[in-house]
């Protein structure tokens, strides 16, 4: 009898290796969007990710924090299929499909979006042509008709207003001549246009003054719905004052070494990362 109980307990411990809380109960009920299992990845032969496990459900906001070089940007790059990164082990499924088999454009159609830490300047490609190609590629994939020029421009104006991106995008090349703040607002503008199911914000706060940070965070919050999710990657807890996470993960040396409630971010602000190592 004793042995039987012991056996049950052990099984239970294996299934729920993250301590249960009311938050976790809620999470188990929400639809699973992203499931990362034992993910290893390297860039130019150097191993950066060393066994990442992470599950993100619909309606959730996860923060991933960690010191420089811990692998935060590598994780986001791998999720969107940057060819410079090589996955050497593990699996990633998105809405039940094998994400690692998909091309970057297929991942976008599936609903993944990365707000780049360093948005690329593309001289000679206008923002309008870029966004029209992106939106219409997505619509074609869904079997919807391409937007007319009028419909498209209306949609653009609407989404520009959301992030206060008050500029004529017709005459401007992608990110060219954009200030640091404009580039980040432009990323969130693109997110608003594409309405992803999972948005990954890679250090979206870096280089932003407090006003720009508020605008960007407001935009992200307005885009939040019960059926989408956000992963916020950041160094600084400051951003999390504006975008409230449900869970905070600490990434260190290619592994998630701690997962906790939002208060963990405050603890990190006070104590830094050293106490966790």
């Amino acid at each position: 009898m004793q042995r039987y109980e012991f056996f049950l307990k052990k099984e239970t411990a294996n299934v729920f290796f993250v301590p249960l809380s009311s938050k976790d109960n809620k999470r188990n009920m929400s639809a699973e969007l992203l499931d990362i299992q034992n993910l290893y990845a390297s860039v130019t032969g150097k191993e950066i990710l060393k066994g990442i496990n992470l599950t993100v459900g619909a309606g959730e906001t996860h923060a991933i924090m960690g010191p420089n070089g811990s692998g935060k940007s590598t994780l986001s790059s791998v999720l969107v299929g940057n060819p410079a990164f090589e996955v050497t082990q593990g699996s990633v499924s998105f809405l039940g499909k094998n994400l690692l088999d998909m091309s970057p454009e297929e991942r976008s159609w599936a609903g993944i979006f990365l707000s780049f830490q360093y948005p690329v300047e593309i001289s000679g490609v206008s923002m309008v042509n870029f966004m029209r190609a992106a939106v219409n590629a997505q619509r074609t994939h869904k079997g919807e008709k391409a937007l007319t020029a009028g419909e498209f421009l209306k949609l653009m104006r609407e989404k520009q207003a959301l992030v206060e991106l008050d500029t004529n995008l017709v005459n401007r090349s992608v990110n060219e001549g954009f200030s640091g703040g404009e580039k980040k607002r432009n990323e969130i503008f693109q997110m608003a246009m594409l309405e992803p199911k999972l948005a990954i914000l890679d250090e979206t706060d870096s280089g932003l003054d407090i006003d720009a940070l508020r605008i960007v965070a407001d935009g992200v919050n307005k885009l939040k719905r019960a059926d989408n999710a956000t992963i916020v990657i950041t160094h600084y807890p400051r951003l999390l004052d504006y975008i409230k996470p449900d869970v905070v993960h600490v990434l260190y040396n290619g592994k998630i070494i701690k997962t906790g409630p939002p208060e963990l971010a405050l603890e990190l602000e006070e104590k830094g990362y050293d106490w966790l190592k």
Binding site: F116, P119, G124, V125, N129, F130, A137, Q190
Partner: protein
């Protein structure tokens, strides 16, 4: 090689635009600019072609602008030899030649600017930009500058690259299919020259055909 060039002479204060079309696959020209003459020269090349140009800026304040776009694919070869002689003071020459090559295409840009002794206050700029889509296409670029005067402002530059991987990834990450993303970046590369050509034809009504 240069046998019998066609000679074009621009008299004092004369201004002209010459726009060479893709069908002009063999060109041999000697162009002379007298005082304060101005010439805008446009090249649009999309098939195997070979051109030889010698342009002499013989009078003060003469001004020359060259805009060229060469696109080649398959086993096409586009070869341009352009010699610009600054023979008089205070002349200006500007040159931008772009090559967009794919497959096993070959491009040759052989550009030379000679600033003769006494051609003081010369302003000369020569740019050659090349975009190679693929590992088998080749560009032979030979930008040359020979200066025999001491009060001049001259520069030349050549840059050859492949499609920007970061830009490709950025476009694809927004759902734009690879082939379309490639096309967008190629169009972007050629856009400034095409804009120039378009606006020039608008201004003069019809492009002057040699």
């Amino acid at each position: 090689m240069k046998s019998n060039p066609q000679i074009v002479q621009l008299a004092k204060n004369e201004r002209t635009t010459l726009c060479f079309q893709p069908k002009d696959t063999a060109l041999d020209y000697h162009i002379i600019l007298e005082q304060n003459a101005g010439l805008d020269l446009y090249f649009l090349q999309d098939r195997t072609a070979q051109t030889h140009f010698q342009i002499d800026l013989n009078g003060e304040d003469a001004e020359l602008n060259i805009y060229g776009l060469a696109t080649a694919e398959g086993t096409q070869k586009i070869e341009n030899h352009i010699l610009i002689n600054h023979n008089a003071p205070k002349c200006k020459s500007y040159q931008l030649f772009k090559y967009l090559l794919s497959d096993e295409a070959v491009g040759v840009f052989d550009g030379k600017i000679v600033v003769q002794e006494g051609a003081q206050k010369t302003v000369a700029e020569q740019n050659n930009r090349n975009l190679l889509d693929g590992d088998a296409c080749r560009i032979h670029s030979k930008p040359q500058l020979e200066i025999y005067a001491d009060d001049v402002k001259c520069s030349h530059g050549m840059a050859t690259g492949q499609l920007d991987e970061a830009a490709m990834f950025y476009l694809r990450s927004r759902g734009i299919p690879e082939a379309e993303a490639k096309k967008m970046l190629k169009t972007a590369f050629t856009q400034d020259i095409l804009d120039k050509i378009n606006s020039a034809s608008l201004q003069i009504g019809v492009a002057i055909q040699p």
